[in-house]
Amino acid sequence: MFSAAQATIGMANVFLDAVAAPENKVNAPAEPFIWFLQTFVTLFIIMNVVLVTMAYQTWAERKVLALAHQRYGPTRTGPFGLLQPIADAVKLLNKESITLKEADKSVFMFAPLVGFIPAVAAWAIIPWGDANNEGLLGGWLRPVIANINLGVLYLLALSSIGVYGIVMAGYSSGNKYSMLGSLRSTAQVVSYELTLGLGMMGVLLMAGSLNLNDIVLAQHNTIWYVIPQFFGFVVFGISGIAETNRSPFDLPEAESELVAGYMLEYGAMRFGMFYLAEYINMNTIAAITATLYFGGWAAPFPFLDFIPGPIWLIAKFSFFLFIYYWIRATLPRFRYDQLMGFCWKVLFPLAITNLAITAVIKLVGIYAGWWG
């Protein structure tokens, strides 16, 4: 299933590449076939790294939560419990998958894929190094799988498609608990998507481009956008947590209330798909936050440039993931109406205000001449 996902993403990316390739690509070889192969190799390596990292997120989360609880977490499966994700995967693959009589079978089976694939596909555009470079291995391991000019729009579109996974899962399960969970989750995700987009608009105004690599380069030359766009960062960060249904916004899967919500009726690997999709989403949001606000693959100071880009990106999004685990360990969860109220009454005005102020400052700056 992974290789099918990878192949699909590979095809899609090559298509996007061909359609939306930026003009400043210095390393496009004459043969499109070589270009396709290079994209595929890059895709293969990066996706494997991402998927393994995602599996080990589960381990990292369990360890961090356990340490917050003054206990150890997994210690017996392998040294430090490092084989725990593998044990979980083996267990999930061996379990029985039940489908209810009342369930709508085709939608039921399709829903986990609709949840999982957009989450993984979002990694296609995240730059691990400067996309204008040739990349390692003489161009065979490029810093980004697809350097498209519409990067941010692609991300928002994918997260919107991901909502369908939740909707389809809850509706087709034939279980009232799941339906309740998916209703709540849908409304939550759709609302917070709005603030997600609006929160990052400030960054887009400042960078002047939707291309993630250009955004990072703009930060590399000036200042990390978290400082001028602090309120945008707050809005984006909180919306990111809400988008991925993480605590304190994890009402849809509130264990103590709806017993896993929309994922309730899924067994075995289908549950595994949702479970992993949540972690991949978290990874994606963490990486996007790092890219948009904290400079992505760029070092904070020029003298630290010798440390390669991927290390910076990994360090930054690991930091955000740690913050997500920490928040989960500490905070109780919002009630549904409080959650929606928080989005529409607090974050949304804040995001709009941030956008308006940024726009005004940029306009003034362009006319006055100091906006370079």
Partner: protein
Amino acid sequence: MQDVKDYTIPGGDNFAQGEKRMRLNMGPQHPSTHGVLQVIVDLEGELVVRCDPVPGYLHRGTEKLAENKYYTQIIPLTDRLDYLSPFNNNLAYVMAVEKLLGLEVPPRAQWLRLILSELQRIASHLIWYGTHVMDIGGITPFLYALRDRETILDIFEMCCGARLTVSYCRIGGLMADVPAGFVEKVDDFVKLFQKSIKDYHKLVTKNPIFVGRTVGVGVIAPDDAVSLGLTGPSLRGSGVNLDLRKAEPYLYYDQLDFEVPLGTKGDSYDRYLVRMEEMAQSTRLIEQALAKLPEKGPVKADDPKVMLPPKELAMSRAEEMQRHFYQVIHGFPTPVGEAYASIEGSKGELGFYIISDGSSRPYRMKIRAPSFVNLQALPMMTEGRMLADVITCIGTIDIVLGEVDR
């Protein structure tokens, strides 16, 4: 289990055609109904229009079983009522039997009972704290609360060998005196706990999300609370000042100095604060009681008809051995009559009403279980609120199904 579609709730099933109501069965197996409690809620979207708790899944016939057992044999049955504070159940029961017999318990036993009862109250409230906050979503305080509860359970294990089903009281005193090191261990716990309470407050009490989830949720008006017969923190959270330790003092509570925390608005947050403060007051009581505990003394009453002889005599002298055998095999006779004794348990007024017909078995034993009575408040608290509040409300009235169902 009954299919929920065929279940008839008393009062009828008044779904009109086309009405948008959904009947949700938060079934007996559920991560947060604190045991096997079934709650049938009728929902319109997220709004609860009707809430019906269905207890009875843990009914084990305790009261009937007691009719066929000698008075001493009933003590292990009482452990299993409110299984989070077993010592309190034992205490209430033996107090009822002692009242029936007119038995006088030696002071050292009474002081020890007081100390252990307050420790048990802290242990019960710690579980409430952990599970209530966990239901609301904060998963960490549960681990911290249980870590402190482990110290209390260690103290009980030291005294009687069991952590959960202690059966430590006997009619006329305790099973045996506490071992050496008891006073030091309880003292250490008190010092540790005074620091821990600060941690618990820091983690939860001012958290805006927790406050938002509990303030105004599950309000019980004082008049409603009294007419429903609520007792314990559920009642005191609404501002009604009724604590049996002050109103009808038992053991030596009238010699000790403590306060009874009261709430003002009767919502979940007030009940939370009341229970947290009760834990602090319990540590105060334990400190004072440790200071007043007599150094030496018997822990069993001095009535040869009721009490078993001391072991060393029973093993060596014929008369005592005969008495030991007779009392174990035939029990002891009781005067004809009835007695009711109640204590301020951790959940409310826990009472035992025993009717005796002169034999060595009770004719009838009725348990006034506070959780059973407190559970009545659930529909009143939740109707008109959202589904998430049902969980908050179940947690805030602090029920234990062992007690509800007996």
